[in-house]
Symmetry: C2
Subunit: 406 residues, 2 copies
C-alpha cells in the first residue's frame, strides 16, 4: 500500500533540475522602466513590423479561406508556405531544399526543442559555441546532455578545438550560429566554414545551423551556408521573427528525410501543428509584398544603429574593453579584463539607468564573468550615444577597483 502524502515538488522529473531559469528574463523585468536606456533586450525593432500589410493579409485570409484557416491542419505546415521558403533558399543562397524537407515550427526555438527530443539521450555530448545561444542552452538542457563549449574566435568557432573534441569522444550535435551570432555578433569566415566542414564531414554527428539573422547583413556578400557544405548532415533552422515579425511564432526546420520523419512524429506529439491562422496570414503577406525590399529597410536601420554603437564604444569605452565588429545582426559583445565582473558592473549601470546582459549565462562552463552583450536593434542613435557614454564613464571608474578586488 502506497500512502505517501501529496508533495508536488517531490513529483518533478529529474530532467528539469538542470534547466537554467532565464537570467535574461529576470534582467528584462528590471529594465522595463521607461527612463532606462536598455541594451539588454534581443527584440527586433517594432517600428519595422509591416503592420498594415499583415492587416491586409489577415483580411484576405479570413475573407477567402477563413473556414480552412481556422481548422486543424497538417503537422508539417502549410505547403505553400514551405514552398515559398524552399524557393527563397534557392533564390537567395542557391540551396536545393525540397518543401518536404521543411517543417514549420513555433519559432525556431521549437526547432531546437524538437531536435533535442528526437536526438539527445541523457549524457550525449553537444558541442556548443562558447559563448553560446542561451535559447539553445535552455532547450537542450531539458534532454540532459553533456555540453562542451568550443571557443568562438573573431573568425568563428575554433576549429582545432572542435576537432580535438571530436577526436576525443562521440559528439552527437554541433550547434552553431554562423551568421551574426547571438550573443557575440561574430560571423564565421569562409575559411572557418570550410575548415569546419573538413573537420566534421562524414563523422557520425549532426551539425545544427541556426540562422535567424543571416538576412540581416550590413555589407559584403552572404557567406556559404553550412548546409551547402554538409548537405543532409546539417539541420538548418530559419525564422520569420527577425525579418517579418516574431508575434506569429513562425520558424522552420530543414532536415533530411529520416530525421524529418522523426521530427514530424515529435512535433505531432508536442502540439499537433503550428498555428495555422498565422501560417496563412504570413504566406498571404509574403506573396503580396517584397520581402527583400522590407529586409533592406531593416538592414539600413540596424546598420546605422550598429555604427552608432561601435563609434560610441571607440570614443567612450577604455582600451581595456574589447568589442566585436558585427557585419550584421543585432548584437555587440564586449570583453573586459579578466578580473572585471560584469554582474557587479550591471548593478552599477542600472543605477545610471543603462541596462545590458552580463555574459555568464551564455557560458555552459561558468566562464564569461568579464563579458557582456549589447543590443542595438531597439535603440536610436541618441540613446546609444548617451548609454555608451554612461557605461564608458562607469567602466573607467570601476576598472582600477576591479584590479584591486579582482
Amino acid at each position: 500500500m502506497n500512502t505517501a502524502s501529496f508533495n508536488p515538488t517531490s513529483l518533478f522529473a529529474e530532467r528539469m533540475s538542470g534547466v537554467p531559469t532565464s537570467f535574461i528574463r529576470e534582467i528584462l523585468k528590471t529594465t522595463v522602466q521607461p527612463d532606462i536606456i536598455s541594451f539588454a533586450g534581443g527584440l527586433p525593432n517594432p517600428a519595422f513590423f509591416p503592420v498594415e500589410a499583415f492587416q491586409a493579409a489577415a483580411d484576405t485570409v479570413f475573407s477567402k479561406s477563413g473556414r480552412n484557416a481556422l481548422q486543424y491542419a497538417t503537422t508539417e505546415g502549410y505547403l505553400p508556405l514551405r514552398e515559398y521558403i524552399a524557393a527563397r533558399y534557392k533564390a537567395t543562397q542557391g540551396l536545393d531544399i525540397k518543401p518536404e524537407e521543411i517543417l514549420i515550427t513555433s519559432g525556431s526555438q521549437q526547432g531546437i526543442d524538437l531536435v533535442g527530443k528526437v536526438l539527445v539521450n541523457p549524457g550525449d555530448t553537444i558541442a556548443l559555441e562558447k559563448p553560446g545561444y542561451l535559447g539553445a542552452i535552455q532547450s537542450f538542457s531539458v534532454y540532459q546532455p553533456n555540453f562542451q563549449g568550443v571557443t568562438l574566435t573573431n573568425e568563428g568557432v575554433d576549429v582545432d578545438e572542435l576537432e580535438a573534441l571530436y577526436d576525443k569522444q562521440a559528439v552527437k550535435l554541433f550547434s552553431a550560429i554562423p551568421n551574426f551570432q547571438n550573443p557575440t555578433g561574430i560571423s564565421y569566415t569562409e575559411e572557418t566554414r570550410l575548415r569546419v566542414a573538413e573537420a566534421l564531414m562524414g563523422r557520425n554527428t549532426l551539425v545544427i545551423e541556426d540562422d535567424p539573422y543571416g538576412d540581416l547583413r550590413f555589407f559584403g556578400a552572404r557567406a556559404k551556408s553550412l548546409r551547402a557544405y554538409f548537405g543532409d548532415q546539417c539541420i538548418l533552422f530559419g525564422s520569420f521573427s527577425k525579418i517579418a515579425a516574431p508575434g506569429f511564432r513562425l520558424g522552420w526546420v530543414v532536415a533530411a528525410k529520416p530525421i524529418m520523419e522523426k521530427l514530424i512524429i515529435a512535433k505531432q506529439a508536442t502540439d499537433l501543428h503550428t498555428n495555422f491562422v498565422g501560417q496563412r496570414i504570413m504566406h498571404e503577406y509574403l506573396v503580396n509584398n517584397d520581402l527583400d525590399a522590407h529586409i533592406q529597410r531593416i538592414v539600413a536601420a540596424y546598420r546605422s544603429q550598429c555604427e552608432a554603437m561601435t563609434s560610441a564604444i571607440s570614443r567612450y569605452f577604455p582600451a581595456e574593453a574589447v568589442a566585436t565588429k558585427p557585419e550584421g545582426g543585432m548584437f555587440v559583445w564586449i570583453t573586459m579584463p579578466e578580473n572585471f565582473s560584469t554582474v557587479k558592473f550591471f548593478d552599477e549601470a542600472i543605477k545610471q539607468k543603462v541596462a545590458f546582459v552580463p555574459g555568464v549565462p551564455f557560458y555552459v562552463d561558468g566562464g564569461g564573468k568579464n563579458t557582456m552583450r549589447l543590443n542595438y536593434s531597439c535603440s536610436n542613435a541618441e540613446a546609444i550615444e548617451e548609454g555608451i557614454k554612461r557605461l564608458g564613464a562607469l567602466m573607467r571608474e570601476m576598472l582600477p577597483q576591479a584590479a584591486v578586488v579582482g
Copy 2:
C-alpha cells in the same frame, strides 16, 4: 579517435522508439476522397467557425495594437486572455482560478507535453483511461512512462481498479477526460467523481483533468469538475479548439504555483511563448461576442447529429454492436463481440466508402480489437443515416464470419 561514419538513424534518442506514429493520421489520409462518408475524424464542424467575427477582431487588433501584437510576448500568455479564462471558470463552474495559475499553450496538446516534460521520469507510472485519448498516449510516450490502463465503464473510470493500482504502486499521474471522453463519449457520473476524489485525494499523485469538450453538453447540468474536488492536486487543461476554432492552436493549463513555475520554465525552453497574434485576436473576439450563445449553436447542431447517429445505430446495427450514449461532445464508441476485428471491418467498410477509427490505438495494452470510434460532428443527418446503414449491413455480413475465423 572517433571515426564512426555518418548514419542518421543511429543518432536517434531512445525516447522516440516508443512513440506510436499516429494511426489516425494514416487513416485520415485514406478518407479524404470526397465520396467517402467519414466518421473517422475528430474535427469540430467548420460551419460554426465565427469567421466574420474573427475577421473583425483581427482588423481591430492590427489597427489598435499591431506593433505590440507582432512583437515577442511573455511566456505565460496574454494577461487579459488569462483573466477572461479565469472569469469564465468562475461564471460557468464556480471555480476559483487565478490568472497566474493559467498558462496559455499551443493547444491543450502542448499542455500534455509540458506536463510530461516537467513530471515524468522514464519508468514512472501514468494511469490512463482504457480506452484513452490518443494524443495523451502519444505525448506522454516521449517521456517513457509505464502506462497502466484503467477500465472506463459507462459511469466513468472503474474506481475499484484505479484504487487497487494506487495501492499496489506509486502512480505519478492519473490522466482523465471526465466529460464526453475521446474516444468513447462517456462522462463520469457525479458519484464516480466523488469516489475518484475519495480514492486519490491526498496521495502523492497528480490528477490530469483534460476538458476540451465540457461546454458541449447536450442536456442536463454540468457535472462538478475534478479540480473542484482536488484543488491544487489537479492540473486542468482547457482549449478554444472545440468552442471557437482550432486553427489558432490556443489552449491552456491550470496548475498550482509550484507546478506552474516549472511549466513556465519548460514552456520557455520549448517555444518561448504561444503565438501572440492569435492570442490577441482570440481575446478581441471573446470580449466582443457572446461565447455562450455561440456554444449553444454548436451544441444544438452536434446534439441533433448525435441523435441522428444513435437513432440510426439502433435501427441498422445488429444487437451485438453495443454503443455508448453520449451526453455531449463529438464521439460514439462501439463495442463488438470479442472475436470481431474492427481493423478487418475497416478494410471492408472503406470499400463501401465509409470510414471510422478502429479502437486498437486507444489501448495502451494491445486490447480493443473489437472496438471503434465514430465521430458525428462533421456529418449531416443524411450522411449519418446512409453511413450507419452501410456499416450495419456490413456488420451483419461479417459477424457470422468473425465467429468462424475469430
